[in-house]
Amino acid sequence: MDFVTLLQVLDSTVRLATPLLLACLAGLFSERAGIFDIGLEGKMLAAAFFSAAVAAITGDVWLGLGAGVLASLALSLLHGLASITFRGNQLISGVAINFLAAGLTVLIAQDWFSQGGRTPSLIGEGRFEGITLPGVEAIAGIPLIGPIYGELISGHSILVYVAFAMVPLTWWLLYRTRFGLRLRAVGEAPEAVDTAGISVVGLRFVAVGICGVLCGIAGAYLATALQAGFVKDMTAGRGFIALAALIFAKWRPWYALYACLLFGLLQAVALRYQNIDLGAFVVPVQVMDALPYILTVVILAGFVGKAIPPRAGGEPYVKER
């Protein structure tokens, strides 16, 4: 593999890892606060549709992004209402959100655009274009660093940089602020947080709210930056891979970044080399596609350290009397 090919594969990795990373961090906020969320997929899908639809109607991608985030936020609050306020089963609520989003997006798309559950193609201002970082020209001549900076780091859409900036921000928020401490505590021992006089319900709603916003950005990235429009079921299971990455990362922000990059790399390699010839035997592309799930099962089985979810995860909080 030569240097140019390596750069292209890594470039593809960054593009494929970005929606995973955003969704993974979204799940991290929610699950750290004790709310399991398997509705990441549905929220991304809803955001993808509404961002593409509004961007297509108004011709302004920023309005589209706003609409996508709002749609995802609305589904998040629904999840919160069901699982925090009414203490329903979080898994069932998440499944319901996935079904709701899969059906509603196609139905509304058909009603608005009559194009078979898809939105019209976005053009010009309706899409996030790649942005060229300053200094690309200046250092283009320098070997190694020039191409790496020009090809790999520069030229992505703004949402990619937002996603990567979210990692240190999430780390800082969770481990260096009072809010983060309380958020982690509410996922481990909500009764302790309650005793301290802090609202468990309020904190958990803030957490699912952040989750909604991040899923919204992830969906908008799929439909308005990577693609130029919405196609039915376009998330294609990325919400579930993000969940797998979250478990793989054991609910920690920096590890979430590494897990998403790893899963993105696996996908990029699988796309670039369909069947990898290792000389002695050939690795079929299906193995590469399945690897994220296999790795997650290995982690869950406890072979490589132990993945311990937040202790109060999945249980609605009932105040003692």
Binding site: R15, G116, Q227, V231, K232, M234, A236, L271, D289
Partner: protein, 331 residues
């Protein structure tokens, strides 16, 4: 008393509508949905053309899940709809069970062979159409490398790829064909993001014409090809208009003609296997105002010449599904 009258009235109205429905043909769309800009939409267009020409009406249903296949078939058959047309290979098993129960009803299935006395099986020679667009791809390519992106990895899609590769090699024996499949599950039909990444990967391998036979995934392929300024080739319906001047052509599968023919024949529908190839206008390539600047006169002559040869039987294109192998491409 008035209630009774109303009930009788309702019963009479019901009987009337049931009576009117007897000769109505019915059309069942597969899970891809009626307006998929491709396969099912072509079927719908054929039915609409029949309805407009004859002034008659037809019944239709869009399936939402696998479980509805048999239910929809039986509902239409019990209702007296005749003939009943369905799109997609996935109806094969269900139809072979249902058809014997309604010997007086005629069925037509597209893309699948069902061996029953009252079924017409319409199959297309996709490899012939793909051969033609493969020739065009090879002629339009400057780099000598062209790409193919399939949806789900099934024999039918390999048939497309194989015909395409043969067409490419016929024009330029030294050409390289990069063929990729999006996946092995039905999600591969609706993953434009993966389609885009595959296109980018093929471009970096030198491809400058990409043929997508991948349903909704193809939308991403055509989009990326247009963004990166290379040519693409659409499939099933005429997709030239999606990116005018950047889609070289589309491999047309005239599902609309098949549906139109079946509905026109009505209850006299001829059963058995009906092969739609180049010879009877079943497959071909699309030429319209959106791509006329891309198709040179030389290209058109060569392709039309090959089409005539295939139609007359002088030139045989290998069908992947006949022996599960392809002389021009390895998977």
């Amino acid at each position: 008393m008035t209630l009774m009258t109303k009930l009788y009235g309702a019963a009479a109205a019901l009987a009337l509508t049931a009576g009117a429905a007897v000769a109505e043909p019915a059309l069942i769309f597969d899970l891809g949905g009626k307006f998929d800009k491709s396969f099912n939409e072509a079927a719908f267009n054929g039915a609409v053309r029949w309805a407009e020409e004859t002034g008659e009406t037809f019944r239709e249903i869009e399936l939402q899940s696998e479980a509805q296949r048999e239910q929809a078939l039986r509902r239409f058959a019990e209702n007296g709809n005749n003939p009943i047309v369905m799109t997609g290979f996935a109806f094969g098993n269900v139809l072979s069970e249902v058809a014997p129960d309604y010997p007086d009803t005629k069925f037509a299935i597209i893309d699948m062979v069902v061996d029953q006395p009252n079924v017409r099986s319409v199959v297309f020679n996709e490899h012939e159409g793909s051969y033609l667009v493969g020739m065009m791809a090879a002629m339009a390519s400057d780099s000598g490398t062209v790409g193919f992106i399939g949806g789900m990895d099934i024999p039918l899609i390999r048939k497309f790829a194989c015909g395409y590769a043969q067409g490419v090699k016929a024009v330029n024996p030294d050409a390289t064909v990069v063929a990729n499949m999006t996946g092995t599950t039905p999600a591969a039909w609706n993953d434009p993001v993966k389609g885009s990444e595959l296109t980018k990967a093929q471009i970096s391998q030198g491809a400058d014409v990409v043929y997508a036979a991948a349903g909704g995934t193809g939308v991403g392929v055509l989009q990326t090809a247009a963004d990166e300024n290379i040519l693409s080739i659409g499939v099933d319906s005429n997709q030239n208009y999606l990116h005018p001047g950047q889609v070289l052509t589309s491999m047309m599968k005239r599902v609309d003609n098949a549906v139109y023919d079946a509905m026109k024949a009505g209850t006299d529908l001829e059963t058995g296997i009906n092969v739609m190839g180049i010879a009877n206008g079943g497959v071909g390539y699309a030429l319209d105002e959106h791509n006329e600047s891309l198709v040179s006169a030389e290209m058109k002559t060569a392709v039309d010449d090959a089409a005539a040869k295939i139609a007359s039987g002088e030139l045989a294109v290998h069908d992947y599904m006949s022996d599960d192998s392809c002389p021009a491409l390895s998977f």
